[in-house]
């Protein structure tokens, strides 16, 4: 291990703000992207189920 302590690790030799500012924003944006893709997927599934249900009703009434 290159680091003496956790404080040492977070400090990044004085570059903490820049290094962690890069890492954290990258991770957050990617997590947000995954979350939004998931929401879009669930929305699409709901629409497909609704359309299937409507289709079935039509089929039964004919």
């Amino acid at each position: 291990m290159r680091w003496q302590s956790w404080a040492d690790f977070w400090a990044m030799g004085g570059y903490g703000l820049y290094v962690w500012g890069s890492m954290v924003v990258t991770f957050l944006l990617m997590a947000l992207e995954v979350f939004m893709a998931r929401q879009a997927r669930l929305q699409a599934e709901r629409e497909v189920r609704q359309s299937q249900a409507l289709n079935q009703q039509d089929g039964e009434s004919v």
Binding site: Y18, V19, G21, S22, V25, T26, L29, E45, V48, S51
Partner: protein
């Protein structure tokens, strides 16, 4: 062989294929990122010139590469779409755009956070930074244009034009550090020369780059499935499809 390719280009077939593949790419992305971050933050030594500040490289270079690769992939699918008029092409292009836009933004963001301590400025209007900013705007333009046109076919064709014309910008970004006198340093890794960085740092960076590749593939496959469902929802096969309650 040709028939095989077109078989998988059918949205119905590709839907199933993408569904089987994306979890593997997601798992690979996670493993590679863990390995890459471990090497990058626990193993790789302090840089002689930049101290610990250089560790931004482990995200900056991968996201910047991916922002260019994804745009080229969009141009590739657009050419296929305009040539063969396949339905899948437009959906693939559209599935790629958000990931590319996020990586282009992250390239600028991490670049600014690296520029401040090393160059003393968040931003300069030099060729590398400016052309990457243009790439980010191209992604936003693509997303805005395609979402403004309701008819999917017309929307795909309009988007394909932006993707293809804008692809000219990608080699400009890549070669900008050679063609112009820029504040941005030249390539640390190139195909023609030995890399100008310590081997273990290089390994960390390449692992992270691979992780971002796998992440992008997983997410694009996942997203294209959603697009296929939405666009094909009135077709027979989607009507028969069992969608989780």
């Amino acid at each position: 062989m040709t028939i095989r390719w077109f078989h998988y280009a059918a949205p119905q077939t590709f839907y199933g294929l993408a569904g089987r593949l994306w979890p593997w790419f997601a798992a690979l992305a996670t493993l590679l990122a863990v390995a890459g971050l471990w090497i990058g933050f626990a193993v790789a030594p302090t840089d002689a010139q930049q101290g610990e500040g250089y560790r931004i490289i482990f995200v900056h270079v991968p996201v910047s590469w991916m922002s260019m690769v994804i745009y080229l992939a969009m141009a590739f699918w657009s050419v296929l779409g305009l040539t063969f008029n396949t339905r899948l092409s437009g959906m693939m292009t559209r599935a790629l755009a958000p990931t590319g836009a996020i990586f282009a933004f992250l390239s600028l963001w991490t670049g600014a956070l690296w520029g401040k301590p090393m160059w003393g400025t968040w931003w300069v209007w030099d060729a590398r930074l400016t052309s990457e900013l243009i790439l980010f705007f191209l992604y936003l333009g693509y997303i805005a244009l395609t979402s403004a046109i309701d008819d999917p076919r017309r929307s795909d064709r309009a988007g394909a034009l932006i993707a293809i014309v804008g692809a000219v910008n990608v080699p400009i970004i890549y070669f900008s550090v050679k063609w112009w006198n820029t504040l941005h340093q030249g390539a640390s890794v190139s195909l023609t020369q030995a890399p100008s960085m310590a081997r273990i740092m290089l390994w960390g960076m390449l692992l992270m780059a691979l992780a971002f590749w796998m992440y992008s593939i997983a997410l694009v496959l996942y997203r294209v499935r959603t697009l296929i469902l939405v666009r094909e929802r009135h077709t027979e096969w989607v009507q028969q499809l069992e969608v989780r309650p």
